[in-house]
Every structure is written in C-alpha cells, then in structure tokens.
C-alpha cells in the first residue's frame, strides 16, 4: 500500500508540481481502500481531483521550502526578486483593477434585475456621434473604457494567493493570462507559480510564470460570491470617507 501512495505522490509532484502531504494521501488511500482493483493512474486522477477541491493547507506538504512562498514576500522595500522553482498556491480573492468598483456594482445589479437573460438585455448607452459601422474600425485610444459586460472582466486582475503554509501574497496580472477573470477563476482555484518575479511585494503574473490547475473550494467560493457586492459597496463607502 505504501508503495502505491509513494507512486501517486511522485506522479502528482512530477506532472503537477504538487507535493502532497503524506498524512492527506494516507487518508485518501484509506478512504478508497474499499474500491479494489482500481488502476493506479485512475487513483492518482481521483487524488488530483480531490486536491484541487481541497484547501492546500490540508492537502500539501510544507516540508520542502522551495515549494513555499517566502514568509516576507510582502516586503515593499524589495524592488525585485525571483521565486525559484514551482510554488503551488490557491486563490483567495480576485478583483478587476481595470474597472471601477462602482461600475462593477452596476454590472452586478444588472444581473440582479434579470437583464443578463437573453432577450432581456437593455441597451443603455449609444454613441450619438459615431457612424455605427465605422466605429467598429475604431478610433483607438481614448474610447477603450467600454463597459464590461456581465461575466467577463477586462483586467488586469489583482489576486490574493496562499501557499500550503498559509502565507499570503498579492499577485498582479502583468500580462494577460488566459483563465484569470472574474467568473472564470473561482475562489480556491489552484495555480502553480513558476520562477515568478516579485516586485515590491507583488507577484507578477504572466503566461510564462503561472500555470492554472483549476479546481475550487466550494464553501469559500460561495461565500465570496454572495458577499461580493457588499464588499465592493463597503470599499466605495470607505473611499468616500477618505476623500
């Protein structure tokens, strides 16, 4: 039995850069013990699936420092440093910093009013000046602030990620990464940072420095979604207070 545990651990580490915790794996194998004759590859697949839905703090090992974030990662006095190797992290928060908070609130309200349903959309802004056909070709530049429609966000996005040891870090989508978007990347989704750069305490995400593994933590994602509008509004209120 120990042998198959080792094999699964090895496979997840080599294919997904996930150092699985021995205790978690032991538990997992025990829980699947009643299923006999399951091939090892299928078992590894199930393990991966469970890990992606788990909290990394439970499922990953913290024994190898190279797969953890430096504990002082937030340090803003460090202009630039490189994170060596692969570090698995999970997403705790995501926001679109290319779009104002208020227009995100408005977008949520449109969905609440049922205007995201097909046939129930309302056109709210039209450009009186432009020839509708020519404007497709675009005058470029200043008009780029088009309203984000529900579901898809413009980005760039700002994430809060967490490693197996619970260390948190802010990450900025410096270059567009497919799959990072509101509504596409749930809370608890798993990423692997690869030789990522950290500048002034922020992890810089680029297609080269991040691999999306998928998954989510259902309970967190649910609460996050339910509280999103309230959090946005609270932040706006806070900002107004400061002005």
């Amino acid at each position: 039995m120990a042998n198959s545990e080792e094999q699964i651990a090895l496979q997840l580490l080599s294919t997904k850069s996930l150092p699985v915790s021995a205790a978690w794996l032991n538990n997992f194998v025990a829980s699947t013990a009643h299923q006999r004759n399951v091939p090892l590859s299928a078992l590894a697949q199930t393990a991966l699936f469970r890990i992606l839905a788990s909290d990394f703090r439970d499922s990953l090992s913290t024994r190898t420092p190279s797969s953890l974030l430096p504990v002082d990662i937030f340090d803003p006095t460090v202009q630039e440093r490189q994170l060596q190797g692969s570090i698995p992290v999970q997403v705790l928060d995501i926001e679109d910093i290319g779009t104002g908070l208020w227009s995100q609130v408005e977008a949520i309200e449109r969905v609440e009013r049922g205007e995201a349903i097909r046939g129930r959309e309302i056109v709210r802004t039209i450009n009186v000046d432009e020839d509708p056909e020519q404007s497709a070709e675009g005058t470029g530049g200043n008009t780029a602030s088009a309203q984000p429609e529900t579901g898809n966000s413009n980005g760039p996005h700002r994430l809060v990620v967490q490693d197996a040891a619970g260390t948190k870090a802010v990450a900025i989508e410096l270059k567009r990464v497919n799959g990072i978007a509101l509504g596409k990347l749930p809370i608890g989704a798993k990423l692997v940072l690869r030789n990522a750069t950290v500048a002034r305490g922020m992890v810089l995400l680029t297609p080269e420095s991040v691999t999306l593994l998928g998954g989510k933590i259902d309970s967190l994602d649910q609460t996050w979604k339910e509280g999103r509008k309230e959090r946005l509004v609270a932040r706006i209120t806070e900002m107004q207070g400061q002005q």
Binding site: I97, L101, I126, Q134, G141
Partner: protein, 629 residues
C-alpha cells in the same frame, strides 16, 4: 361615351391639393365641403392610362384618421367597472364627431364614382386610414372599385407615375394598426384608470390629475429615470495611469498607456517603476496608413430626429412637424422611413442638379457632377416603402420659415454628403514597449475634406504631427510619470440619445418616437433642463418626482416575480412591436396578436393590483416625504 368618374382621397388637404395640381396640370375646380372648412373637393380630368383611361376626377382628403375605437357607453365612466374589465369590455368603432362631414362627403362622392383611388401616405398608418376611407366609400356605393396610389413624395413626375401605376391596399399593414389601436386603448385605459384612482388620494398634487399610462411612454420614461438614477447614485473613484512624454525635433510627443488607467495605485506604481528600471523604450510599431472618415449613410427618420435635435436646436417632435410640412409642400421626400439605402432606379444626379441655384451649396453640387459624385453607401435597412429622406427640388430660402430652412438645409447637406467622396487623411502611429508596458501615440493629417465641405455637422481635424521614429529603435523617454484622475458620472439623457435608445431597444416606430417623448414631457413625468449656455447649451431630460415614483413603483411591483418584466422596461412593448411586424408579414393574425399581447399585459396588471401598495409607497416616498424634506 361618358367619361368614368373617379374619387381620389388623400390623407391631408395639402396633399390633395398638390396632387390635384400635378394631375390637372394646374386647372381644376375647387368645391367647398359642407361642414368642414379645411377639406375641399378638387374636380378635373385626368388620363390614368391602363384600364381607366381619361376620367373625371374628384380629389378630396381626410384629416388623418376618420374613426376612433371606443368602449361601449356603459364602460366609459371611470367608476363604471373595475379597470381590469377593460381588457375584454366590448368596443366599437365610431366616426369622430368632427370628422362626420368628411365621412359624409366621401359617401356622397362615392355614389357617382366607379372607382376609389386612395392617396394616403404610404406607411402603416396610411394603409389603415385607407381602409377607413374605403369603408365610407363602400357605404355610399357598395360596388365601387378600390385602388391605391404608391408615392413617396409630391414631385410632379413621381405623382403622375403613381397615378398611372395603381396598386392594391395592403390590408395586413392596416390590420397591424388596428391591432395596435385596440391594444393601446385597452391597456392604456386599464392602467390609467387603475393608477389614477389608486394614487389620487396620496398627494394633493395628484387629486385632480390624470396619471396616464401608455405602453410606449412608460419604457420611454424608464430610460430617462434609469439614467437619472445612474447619475444620482454614481460614486466617483480615483484612478491612476502612466504618462510617457518624449521630446524630439522640438515636438513633445505624448504617449498614451495601452491600459488607459487602473484603479490600484500600488500596481501602477510598480508598473511605472519597471518602466524606469528598463531605462530604454523600444519602438515596436511605426505605422503610416491612409485613413478616411466615411460619408454619412442616407438619411432615415431616426437619424433625422437624432441629428436634428443635436445640431438644429429643435426637439424631435418639432423636427418631424417641420419635415412633414416640407414634404407636403413637395420640397423633400416622405420623412417617415427606415430605409438607409437608395434604390438603384433613382436618378440621384438629377436631384443633385436641382440644387445648383443655391448660393450656399450650389457650387458644391456642381462639383459633384463635375466628377466628385460617388454612389452613396448602402445601409442595412429597407422598409420597402420609402427611399431615404432626400430633397425633391430646390427651394429659395425666402420661401421658407426659419425652422423649415434649418431642416431643409440639413436634409440637402446630408443628401449631398451621401453622394460625395469620403474625407481622406493619413494617420501615423508609433507604439513603444517600455518595461513591460505598451504605449502609443497617434497623429492625423486631413488631406482631402471632400464631404466635410458640405456636411458642416461632422468634425474631423488634423492633430499634432509625430516626429520620425524608427522601427526597433531604442530611446530613453524624456519623462514618465504617474497621473491620477477621478471617474465622472454619465450625463443626464439628451433627446437624441433617448431616440437612439428607443430605436436600439425596439420601442416605438420611427414615426412615433417623437410623440412619445413629447407625451412624457406633457404629462409632467420629465422636464427639460438646460446645461451650459449659448451655442453649447445641452438640453437634458430629467424626471420629475412623479416620474421617478412611477418607475420605481412599477419596478417594485414585479420585484422577485420571475418572468414578469416591469412596465418601465422595454421588453413588453418590444415584444408587441415584433408581433405587429408579424401581422404585416402575414405570419400572425390580428386577433391572435391582440389576444397574446393582452395576456402579457393582463398578467402585469394583476400583479399591479395585488401589490398596489408598492406603487403607492413609491409615490408617497417621492411626492409626500421627499417633497416635504
């Protein structure tokens, strides 16, 4: 051999007269109609060709619709029945009392005529008016043959041609209008009575007021309120961006950030620092390419209303009235059209030539025929009834009122612009990568103004020129820094925008939009405020307290009810208008559509009755509490 007698009926007296003039060649006899001072009978001979040959013609007119749809007498009193009963209360058609003399005239004349030729305007309403005329004529003479003239302006050759190629009345279009009339009556009366009776006790201000409901007016009001609330609720936020400037050849070039701006200062600071760390920016794109600003599309009603209320300082209803007058006088084509493509058969050059005498644009028109002419762009809409709005002939400015002059000038300039070459220019674009960030600068030189010379409403001007940059070149920008700014609320809705929104959301037909906007002003649901002053003043639509209360109330009524869109939203009406089109296409019958649409509205009506307190609360909130505070 006796000459057959024929009765012709136009939609308005002025059209009857204009058509008589053309058909008779100017010599006709005018006979007054007893009981109506505006309508006249014009008598003359005309050869219709084909099966008709020379006929003795009596040309007369109606004044718009002849009849009204009404509830039976016992349902007319406001307290005679529960408002909901109006969804199925019996209705009947009556000739308006002030139109009785006109109807009688048609009956009388029909008695002696072999045929009736209908000359109402060629659109849905005109088709319906045509059936009203037919009904009266048949009452006078059951065997009368009915034909219809198809025309879209009152220019002589066009009218003569229409008279010699008569077609049939389109009953499908008339049915669509009949369906709309019945729906407007039932739905309008039911909701108007319900809300007026329920709300009158809430505020002194409402005790004597009729709070009217219309299935088009409410969504129109909805747009105004929606924008108003967006402005009111707006929360400004700070944003930050990176500005890169480089001086070369004595020219300061400002490069714009591809990300425009972000709402996270820390992130922007890091991004700027990475630009500075990189020291040198690299030119990743140098582009010089010809560009053009397209000449406008042929003019539709919606565009006339939008552009007109934007550039001519007149509201859309006024513009339509003036355009209507210009059409009746034969100066422009029919102003109610959805078509933005010219038919191949129409001789545009001949129309351009007619503008030669004008002191302002005559020279330009000449230039078009001396080689500047281009075939107009074709848009995607064609209502198959009317061409785009265009001038029919030249008219001396002294023959027009001030408003007419403005609208006529717009129509002509737009038409000439359509037939011109696009404006040509050259853009140069430089894109740089600085650190991980991309920036670009753009310059424009206008080389040939072309259509812009006559279409003074469009602006396109050269900008600062860019100095030379080489592809792949590295340079250290003179300056790179963070800028900050604040988001600003949208503006209140303007009339041209509102027309655009109604069009985009399928509310009202091009012909009726202006009326709906005028209605909500007249009902005091919205008011017009001026922002700015002088030539730059912008007229904005702002809802009154009552307007906001009604929208909020109806929205609350359907809150939480799945599949019950609010009356303040466009869907129900849009749905209804799609059904009208189905009647016109022959795919749905009038009764079917009336029943289906009544069902939709009846459901909302029942909800409204059940949750009437929500409506009352909203009205109380805005008219009593807010008014007091």
């Amino acid at each position: 051999m006796t000459v057959p007698r024929v009765l012709c009926v136009a939609e308005k007296p002025a059209i009857a007269k204009a058509v008589s003039q053309h058909l008779s060649g100017g010599s006709f006899q005018t006979i007054p109609v007893r009981g109506n001072q505006y309508v006249k009978n014009y008598v003359f001979d005309f050869n219709f060709g084909g099966p008709w040959g020379t006929c003795s013609v009596t040309m007369t007119s109606v004044i718009g619709h002849l009849t009204t749809l009404e509830f039976e007498r016992q349902y007319k009193g406001w307290l005679s029945c529960p408002p909901g009963a109006l969804f199925e209360a019996p209705v009947h058609i009556t000739v308006d009392s002030d139109k009785a003399a006109i109807a009688k005239n048609i009956q009388e004349q029909a008695k002696y005529c072999k045929a009736l030729f209908i000359w109402t305007d060629c659109d849905r309403e005109g088709e319906h008016i045509g059936t009203e005329v037919r009904k009266q004529a048949k009452e006078g003479n059951a065997r009368i043959v009915v034909k219809r003239a198809k025309f879209s302006n009152t220019e002589k050759a066009h009218v003569l041609n229409a008279a010699r190629s008569l077609i049939e009345l389109d009953d499908l279009q008339a049915n669509a209008v009949a369906a709309r009339i019945e729906l407007d009556l039932r739905i309008g009366a039911a909701f108007t009575r319900l809300q007026t009776l329920q709300l009158k006790h809430i505020s002194e201000a409402l005790s004597e007021k009729i709070i009217s409901y219309g299935s088009c007016q409410f969504p129109t009001l909805g747009f105004v309120v929606d924008r108003y609330l967006r402005v009111k609720n707006f929360k400004p936020e700070n944003f930050w961006g990176i500005k890169v400037m480089h001086t070369r050849d004595g020219i300061k070039v400002n490069f714009l950030w591809r990300r425009v701006h972000l709402f996270d200062r820390a992130a922007v600071t890091v991004m700027l620092e990475r630009c500075l760390m990189a020291k040198k920016a690299k030119v990743t794109k140098v582009n010089q390419k010809p560009t053009s600003k397209w000449r406008p599309l042929p003019l539709t009603t919606v565009d006339l209303q939008m552009m007109g209320s934007r550039y001519l300082r007149m509201d859309s209803q006024k513009i339509m009235k003036v355009a209507e007058a210009l059409y009746t006088k034969g100066f422009i084509s029919y102003p109610r059209t959805e078509t933005d493509q010219f038919d191949k058969g129409i001789d545009l050059k001949k129309l351009i030539e007619k503008q030669f005498p004008d002191t302002n644009w005559g020279q330009y028109a000449r230039g078009l025929l001396d080689g500047g002419y281009r075939t107009p762009r074709a848009g995607r809409h064609n209502d198959q009834a009317h061409p785009p709005i265009h001038p029919i002939c030249w008219v001396s400015p002294t023959a027009l009122s001030a408003d007419e002059k403005k609208v006529y000038e717009f129509v002509v300039r737009r038409f000439l612009a359509c037939c011109s070459e696009d404006a040509k220019g050259q853009t140069s674009e430089v894109e740089i990568q600085y650190g991980d960030e991309m920036f670009h600068a753009k310059g424009l030189i206008v080389l040939e103004r072309n259509y812009l010379d006559v279409y003074v409403y469009d602006k396109w001007e050269s900008s600062q020129q860019l100095p030379n940059f080489q592809m792949g070149e590295l340079f250290e920008p003179t300056e790179a820094k963070i800028f900050d700014g604040k988001t600003t609320p949208p503006n209140y809705l303007t009339e041209p925008e509102l027309i655009g929104l109604m069009d985009a959301n399928g509310i009202g037909t091009d012909a009726t939009m202006a009326e709906h906007i005028a209605k909500i002003k007249e009902r005091e649901y919205v008011a017009v405020h001026s922002r700015g002053s002088g030539r730059n003043a912008v007229k904005e639509l702002i809802p009154t307290r009552l307007g906001v209360a009604l929208v909020e109330g109806y929205d609350n009524v359907v809150t939480g009810l799945p599949d019950s869109p609010s009356l303040s939203k466009p869907f129900l009406r849009k749905e209804m208008e799609l059904r009208m089109r189905e009647i016109c296409a022959g795919s749905k019958s009038r009764t079917e559509v009336v029943q289906q649409s009544l069902e939709m509205y009846r459901e909302v009506f029942i909800h409204t009755q059940r949750r009437i307190n929500m409506l009352k609360d909203a009205v109380r909130k805005y008219l009593v509490e807010e008014a007091a505070s």
